[in-house]
Amino acid sequence: MPKLRRIESRQDGQPGNDGTGSPSEPPTDGELLARAVDGDLDAFNEFVERHQRAVIALCTGILRDASLAEDVAQDAFIRAWKNLPSFQGESARSWLLRIATNRCLDLLRQRNRQATDSLDAQIVESEPRWTTQMPSESPEAEAERVELNDRLEAALADLPDDQRIALVMADVLGYDYLDVAELTGAAMGTVKSRISRARARLRSALLADTASREHFERYVRP
């Protein structure tokens, strides 16, 4: 069963999902959104609080920039509030994550337009980020790690947006293919193909020879 649905069932499947829950049980997503539709901002904020980690993780994984991800997540929450009337009672979490995914895609398209319009815009593409902490590493080792990180980010940036998003959802966020299909609005066959192609491209860009593979192994599995 898809992970999103499992999570959903834990939240929406609790007593009170039909709107008649006892006061001691926390309200379900559906109840919170129903109150939010009536203008209850506190109820909406409770819904946001419940899912913000997933939304921010999604945006951070796709955009590879924590600060930018915060902005996009905030924007997605505001969009969700404004689109409450269009919420059809589907999975609330998937609905919110879909809005966030679309906002990330909007931003990536905007970046691509700027990049094709001006070579300067490519400077903002990415910064080196490698979260593995290595307190005792030498300057040479640090330089090598940064170089590997740059290669990884460059290879990721070279992927088409749809392939990168599908790969990040599967490999970084741990979503299954059905969730990826639901969040990106793509068919299952398309999702399979995107993930496979993205992996093949990363593999040939990063692990083309034994030396590269050993370098990555050393830093990924310290």
Binding site: A121, T132, K192
Partner: protein, 240 residues
């Protein structure tokens, strides 16, 4: 260790390829994610157990996954709470690039980025072509359209008689010896009714207006292109 997985070819531990079929890369990718049905997964698992090449592919997929995970920035944990101001705000929050301080330049950049250079080039070429045409035909300014004959001659009509005149005629010797009646007709010296054929032709009036408009448009496009360039530089500085 092999560097490329070739579907349909099996690589043994000794590095020799046998005709035994390996599953395609996509199937291994699905197997890696647990997205194959039980029967197919069992088949792939049995194959992988005896295939160094496929094992290497799966190792690479693991390595890529781990590299992606450790290199992904730590997600922010700050709490989000929308305020009434946030939801009243109509301005889009999504503004990754710092706004340019030059509002007109920004507007122009947004509206005309793909077209300004091309339009400017086309307008400039048109203008050059028109001016070159004027120079070649000897036209010398507004109000005196191109002549129907070659050189610096012009046609005037005196009492209904068309007369070919030269440059000197227009410079002050109008109606003197340099004037040549056309088609053997004789000019009537007593007539005061003199009009230029070119001046009376509305086509050449519109031609002049078109030229003037083209110049204005060209100047506008050049200014737009300059503002746009300045705006881009400013935006780049802001991003940096």
């Amino acid at each position: 260790m092999n560097d490329e997985h070739n579907p349909g070819q099996h690589q043994t531990a000794e590095g020799q390829r046998s005709p035994r079929d390996c599953p395609p890369f996509e199937t291994l990718s699905l197997f890696f994610d647990g997205e194959l049905d039980a029967a197919e997964a069992a088949k792939v698992e049995a194959h992988v157990a005896s295939c160094d090449s496929c094992q290497a592919v799966l190792d690479d997929l693991r390595l890529i996954r781990q590299a992606l995970r450790v290199s992904t920035p730590v997600a922010s944990t700050r709490p989000f709470r929308l305020t009434p101001d946030d939801v009243r705000e109509t301005r889009p929050v999504l503004q990754p690039v710092k706004p340019d301080t030059s509002a007109p330049a920004r507007r122009l950049t947004r509206l005309t980025i793909p077209y300004v250079p091309a339009l400017t080039a086309v307008a400039a070429l048109l203008l050059i072509a028109i001016i070159a045409g004027d120079v070649i035909s000897g036209d010398d300014g507004p109000g005196s359209g191109p002549t129907p004959t070659a050189g610096a001659a012009d046609v005037i009509v005196i009492d209904g008689t068309p007369i070919l005149t030269t440059e000197e005629d227009r410079d002050g010797n109008f109606g003197a010896a340099a004037s040549t009646p056309m088609s053997g007709q004789t000019a009537n010296d007593g007539s005061e009714s003199i009009e230029s054929a070119s001046k009376s032709d509305p086509f050449w009036d519109w031609w002049r207006i078109g030229e003037a408009l083209l110049i204005v448009i060209l100047l506008g496009l050049l200014v737009t292109a300059l503002l746009q360039r300045r705006s881009r530089r400013s935006a780049s500085r802001n991003r940096a």
